[in-house]
Symmetry: C2
Subunit: 251 residues, 2 copies
Amino acid sequence: MSGKVYEEEHTVKYYEGDTLGRMSLPMLINNLIHVSETQSSVLGVDDAFVKSRGLSWIILQYGIEIKRMPRITEKVRIQTQAMSYNKLFCYRDFNVRDEAGEEIVTVHSTFALMDLEKRKMVRVPQEVIAPYESEFTKRLIRTPQPEKVNEEKLAAKTYRVRYLDIDQNKHVNNSKYFEWALDALGYDFLATHELMSMNIKFEKEVQYGEQVQSEYSLRKMEEGQVLSAHRIVTEGKTNCELSAVWKALEE
Amino acid sequence: MSGKVYEEEHTVKYYEGDTLGRMSLPMLINNLIHVSETQSSVLGVDDAFVKSRGLSWIILQYGIEIKRMPRITEKVRIQTQAMSYNKLFCYRDFNVRDEAGEEIVTVHSTFALMDLEKRKMVRVPQEVIAPYESEFTKRLIRTPQPEKVNEEKLAAKTYRVRYLDIDQNKHVNNSKYFEWALDALGYDFLATHELMSMNIKFEKEVQYGEQVQSEYSLRKMEEGQVLSAHRIVTEGKTNCELSAVWKALEE
């Protein structure tokens, strides 16, 4: 498994940070995707190329491991690599390294190609995948599934899809699911916990005008650690499931 | 009037764009403020320096003129300059130029310094302002006021302050007022109009946990142009007023 590696430097801007000066997860994801888009563009297979074939990339799943989040004004290197692919799925890794070269965030992702007209996944064509020089393999990579919400401990907040949640693809931008899920946990929880890992699985697109229900349940794990399980729901249908592990911050 | 000029290059990222591939106004403002923060840092008077004096910058007003918004993947130059100041107010200009050197966005802004303990504006101290080399003048610059909303034609949407709306200063980030105001206009309006100018006046901070009422009224101007007047209200108090002029996009 070894596709071409692409890397960019990023200095975390003030507005990308949260109340504690940590880079926010939605902004981190935005910047990871930005780096993979730039790689595609450098390799001559940008979004326009893919679209001209009647196709569009969709993200199915992320597995995220966080040693620590980058901080405001910190200079990091974001690296991405298309690892391998099979008939339907493409596996892409990301990592974020600090100035000392330490890997502080690692992300495994699963992408697929959708036929824009038929709205269904298609076999990955050679002309789109070849430039990444990733390995073809029949092997399916099983990314861990998000933990299910505990229905008996369910809490929820509702969100309206905003104009700026929709991007040029006329879809809800990926990073918004993270925002809906995390925000439901509330200020007190988010300002006193540090995110350690997350699994997220996208199931069905949210449409503009829909009312988004962001549901979650919390479960205590070992000392100081909490698991949050989330579900993004519109009109009774699950759009996205995710779970996260948190560490309580010391005072 | 001639303070030190500072400039940075910025390539508009995909996630900074809206449904039509135009850079969003909140993201534009975020990046302007980023450039002014970097200037302050370069001049040795960054936020931490100001805070160590018990002070904090607050933004009172923006006057924004837009020839056209930068587009996704476009490379622009963002320039800022502290123009002049008087006892209480500091005037800072921004402009955005495209690769041909044309000025496509111009912003005039009014800043002041707040005593963090007394929560009121203070006289601008020399040690904070001198490095910018802007001119002291007794003259007050009168930025045009936003037009008032028409109470009889009022429409409104409500918003909840989200965790990520709050930045490291524990305040609602400036760019969120733009989001609340614009979003209330709805997808159909925003996707068929181009922003030409905006005046915005910040009056009172929004606090976390408050319910935000984003009110607006529309008025037809000359052919194809519309004026939108906005008010951000929490618990009956006005936090911010703004008005904008829009041009209908041709099909």
